[in-house]
Symmetry: C2
Subunit: 213 residues, 2 copies
């Protein structure tokens, strides 16, 4: 009671953003109407345009909010004094946990932005690219240290790595791959194992497989 003036009791802007996540995840950005978002948020149509300039801007906001967190996470991981493989594991872990924590939001970001190469993917290309660059930097130093092979360019390795991660998330989103706590944890290891260790049977992988056999 003491004070509730400047800031409204409920942040309608946030309410709209959260509703948009559910609507975008459920129907897709292009299929839904702005009125669907307003209805889902329990708010009048016009209020959406009080807080946002356009339907596009809602998605832009959702994407940028989350992607900046990812970029910061990548930077922080890279700053740590740990082996490259562990850095890649930490990044994979962050992305997988993001999905576990808020599958709808990650679905929207991947399906409507990251993979939507012709619409929002193009708008945010520079931003998305920063993630690739961060990953490539990790690969590059590992190559300089002689831990990673030097014949595959860092840019290329970064794309392959990110592509694998995104495809697995897409697999979960569209039920091509089983989901669950165990699957999420295994996926982290398996993605890094595949990209770093490769599918070929080696002594270490034979050892690792031994536990499963």
């Amino acid at each position: 009671m003491a004070r509730a003036n400047a800031v409204p009791a409920v942040d309608k802007r946030r309410l709209i953003l959260d509703a948009a996540v559910r609507v975008f995840a459920g129907q897709g950005f292009h299929t839904c109407r702005v009125s669907d978002i307003a209805d889902e948020a329990g708010v009048a149509y016009g209020l959406v345009y009080h807080y946002f300039d356009s339907k596009d801007q809602i998605l832009d906001t959702l994407f940028l909010e989350r992607w900046d967190i990812l970029l910061r996470a990548i930077q922080e991981v890279d700053a740590q004094p740990i082996p490259a493989r562990e850095k890649l594991y930490a990044i994979t872990s962050f992305i997988v946990d993001s999905y576990r924590h808020d599958p709808d939001l990650m679905k929207v970001i991947i399906v409507e932005v990251t993979r939507a190469a012709n619409t929002f993917g193009r708008t945010h290309l520079a931003h998305i690219r920063e993630a690739y660059i961060g990953i490539a930097a990790i690969v590059e130093s590992a190559q300089r240290e002689g831990v990673f092979r030097g014949d595959i360019t860092p840019d290329f390795a970064a794309l392959a790595f990110y592509g694998a991660v995104e495809q697995v998330l897409t697999g979960w989103i569209f039920a091509l791959l089983p989901t669950g706590e165990l699957e999420y944890e295994q996926a982290k290891t398996h993605i890094v194992e595949t990209i770093c260790g490769g599918l070929d049977r080696t002594e270490q992988s034979a050892l690792a497989a031994g536990r499963a056999d």
Copy 2:
């Protein structure tokens, strides 16, 4: 003059499909109008609806035509008595060469269908999935033979492999990666090397890198 009746001199249907590829690649499916396709084909608006039921059906046709060729290629590759790594190389090679031969068509298929998870990607999910299944089958037999490690599920490996390939194509499409004859050939090797051999430095990879250093 002898005969030109039943079949028209120029196949207008094909003309429209080819025009659609250029228009979709240039502006994107959702951005372009049906009249753009008609104009590009040098044909009246209504004729498009003589040959196709809807704008969607044009894209469906383009995708299915090409994807079936890919699926057949995967099957043929798998039938050959060669090591798994060579099979994966052959598939990668087929996809890369498809892009080299007709970048516009591959761009449309990837950007508008394969990666468009909420629209056409969903419609053709079962079809797209068949490619994953074909790749997973290759991985599975390699695991049974003890050539590939057994602790990563074939489904998972297939997604990671296909994800890497598609991401590299996307990299070319959006100029994130340099293009050219040399790059295409190197990409084939590097994708397979990354997924099968891994990024870690090993004796073989050190050997391969030796040539480049």
